[in-house]
Assembly symmetry: C3
Homo-oligomer: 403 residues x 3
Amino acid sequence: MKTSESLLDRVRRIATPNDGLVDRDVLLTWDLSNDAIATLHDLAGALRAAALEGLSLRAFDTGLAVSIFRDKSTRTRYAFRAACNLLGLATEELDESTSQVAHGETARETAAMIGFFTEVVGVRDDLFLGEGHTGMQATAASLEESHRAGALLQRPSVLNLQCDLDHPTQSMADLAHLAHHFGGVERLQGKKLVMSWAHSPSYGKPLSVPQGIVALMTRFGMDVVLAHPEGYELEAGPLEAAQGFAAKSGGRFRVTHAMDEAFEGADVVYPKSWAPGWIMRERTKLHRGGAGAALADLETQALAQNARYASWECDEAKMARTRDGAALYMHCLPADISGVSCKSGEVSAAVFERARLDTYREASYKPYAIAAMILATRFPDPGAVLEAAIARGTPRRGAGEVP
Amino acid sequence: MKTSESLLDRVRRIATPNDGLVDRDVLLTWDLSNDAIATLHDLAGALRAAALEGLSLRAFDTGLAVSIFRDKSTRTRYAFRAACNLLGLATEELDESTSQVAHGETARETAAMIGFFTEVVGVRDDLFLGEGHTGMQATAASLEESHRAGALLQRPSVLNLQCDLDHPTQSMADLAHLAHHFGGVERLQGKKLVMSWAHSPSYGKPLSVPQGIVALMTRFGMDVVLAHPEGYELEAGPLEAAQGFAAKSGGRFRVTHAMDEAFEGADVVYPKSWAPGWIMRERTKLHRGGAGAALADLETQALAQNARYASWECDEAKMARTRDGAALYMHCLPADISGVSCKSGEVSAAVFERARLDTYREASYKPYAIAAMILATRFPDPGAVLEAAIARGTPRRGAGEVP
Amino acid sequence: MKTSESLLDRVRRIATPNDGLVDRDVLLTWDLSNDAIATLHDLAGALRAAALEGLSLRAFDTGLAVSIFRDKSTRTRYAFRAACNLLGLATEELDESTSQVAHGETARETAAMIGFFTEVVGVRDDLFLGEGHTGMQATAASLEESHRAGALLQRPSVLNLQCDLDHPTQSMADLAHLAHHFGGVERLQGKKLVMSWAHSPSYGKPLSVPQGIVALMTRFGMDVVLAHPEGYELEAGPLEAAQGFAAKSGGRFRVTHAMDEAFEGADVVYPKSWAPGWIMRERTKLHRGGAGAALADLETQALAQNARYASWECDEAKMARTRDGAALYMHCLPADISGVSCKSGEVSAAVFERARLDTYREASYKPYAIAAMILATRFPDPGAVLEAAIARGTPRRGAGEVP
């Protein structure tokens, strides 16, 4: 099938990231350069445009991707599998038995065992603050060691499908959604985005989405406001990164403890619950010690603290304060919807229903974000590989014409 | 590899169904026109002939199929995966967590999340009368909505892998088996097929197989007899459809409450258990209310009712009454075999053993029936797509000759 | 991509086994001829060399492989999936429900149901001595029957992924590892290999690895010593095979009850635990009878017997006795490492840590061993199929150049 010239031009303009991502991992976006982020964003956009033209984007004739989910997931799990399938990889899920003894030994061996012909290992590990990111680094180190020892054909890349610190596939998908909504990343300059805490009846949600959002969107000159009650502070690392990016991009980054005031004149609102850092750290300690009763106590305390801020709900009144009362509502899903999925949640039923299809569109960018990360970590020149796939002109469906 | 001219001729003669199946769903066969049924049957036959010639029938370079099993399955599950693999689709199974709250909300969101690059969603939902078919319609509506909203690349088709009302993949496979056995669908005219209830020690089997069989086979001028004890009536919808099809095709459709008499002179017998409709409706009510003890009571009543008809077993004596004592025995499997898988079942050990390999052959048509449904719902001209795949001449195994 | 002439020459020299492996099964290596073993070994080596050159080794355009794991597995499970993916097969896992009634009936039917478009069925069934191998033979017989009855398109081959008697994928991978280590199979002549029992805190490990090792390595003229305490004898079949092979190859095979003495001057040591035969046979009897309390008693007895031989640990002192104190340490993994994964195990922490990466390299040969078995059982001329795949020159990654 003939490929539009504009699509090929678009792909040819994609620069090669000089971060040395090939055979490396995507763990925390704030460790990547602006160039690398731009490449990932451009690759994702070109992949999406090519997919919309019905092209097959197979970059692997055969090959495996392994996913390790140390927490539940539907959305990212399917986005990961979809991204892998688009590029020609078959996916396997590693069913980890939790071994109490010699955990380190088992993990090193497991990495060597799942790495045969494996291109990427997608990991979700976000339950315990202080353990997710470090766990992924350990997995990457094991894969590196096995590869250097000649036990693996290639050095698989580890992709962070959400850890305790960051959620790169979510924030990069959100970036694509915002760029699409406003007409390009350059149009984000000066737009006000509110990353706000919101009340939830559950406890223990990770800090990774708010941390990922503030540390990514500040690169684009946005006016980023982080709103939360006192006691729900994010970690120093992403906060410092956000300040630095905002300064360099001509944007802003500030923290406020008033949700109403934050929503004033906002172009984008992202109200989502997360747990207080001290509760997450306490939970990690208790988990390591295996303390069942204490964990139940912790939950009670956490829910009690949350309940004090039940008014932190994204409702019609708050939305009315946004720019033209029509800010783009964002959520990584699933949202806690008052009166629908819970009694008192992050967002009112009316606001969510109006924004529901927007959130599905927001989610639709995730497979392309992941596919971009796969290309960028597996090939020195991902743009060339994508260009070759597009130029082949193979249709994804109905492969082949009648001769 | 060279393709036989007769195979290509066969494919070229396949008409395009004008039911608008593309980007739509296959839920109840009695909602489809005779033309659509003929196309599905012809596509399945051509797929099988091409597969037997060793051809690759890849119609997708990449792409996903998702299966949602709300009831156990081995046979249809493997047939679905086999059909998808034959055409080039990778399969994913959705592990649905049963959410008590906001079930509707979760289902709408889930459809959007599993639809990335998904061509077909195969669903089995047959446990609760009044919920399976409507559940599939809801899934289809969610996929339609997400696609129109721009959240999905394509509008996946929903294929019914057995609901409370119909079992299209089974009945279309059975049609292929009958056509093969008698030498063509036109040879079915006037043949007597008995769809008979049979005793089973378990309760709660769906009505979908008997309903699907009487509503499909009556299209081909067969003399269809539905036999069951009083109290085991099928639903009005398929019964009316069967009457209508029989009238138009010059066949017959009648109901009898005597198993022996039904078997008299039969060419085909299909003895299989199903639950009384009132028990299935009661079970649905109790399930919605979450009533554990009442469900146990219902089971006791159902088994007691079944036990009154233990003589409704397909044994040697009944088979002796069929035409030449040699009617084709059919079963969707697994059968409850007296003295083998249960004490008193649907069929005697001797009758089943004689028919066992026939039932495996009957089952072997299912992957092709499913593959035909996939082609017909994903391509406006499925015959052309199949012709192109065949004409490519790619062998399924040992891909490629030494140059 | 251009293929090295030496790789093509290597493949062209692979003889076709005259054991009639095509459409047959690989169950016990000692039932295969030296020619068949040589073909499997050469195919595996060529597959590995081709994979290292980045070539796609797709031998199937579409096709399925089914795995049936009646015991836990990570390593072989991933090696099987990797091998299938390398050749272009999608893998499905059969989740067997253990049916108490009519077990034979269900197994025959299941084979017919999972066989659609299935090329290979990989089975692990090693828990019960007297049942694993016979179970695989029954599976193979069911597949044969269904194929002959016209219910399956092809006759899938059964590959033994470990049974109660043998572990062919492990021993063939170990052979490749040894050949690589010593510079060729012909260099194995005269080398001393010690297959030694070692203490483990768990009971009930199968006899298949030691039996597989002694029955395979004796074909190559090695000086094979089987060391174990009295009461831990292996089965007569593999022992007799080992004696026969040793005699024909100019090697040796003897049994000793002294671990220290066995290690003297060894070139290769393979210290691994296994259960006494009488305990395995008793466990099979109890399992068939469903006797929970008696099984617990048996475990207590077995652990008590094991504990008498806690000194049978591969430690520094024993390693010091080997040739130059530098014998190659082998293990199929996971190993019971004293002070790391258990208190008192098969190997000391220091010895294992020094050998750890060697064991990962040893494991890395398994996918190629399995892929070789798949080619040899699915194609009359596997060497030609591999040659064609290599000559096609399709890269596994970055499929296609910019035109």
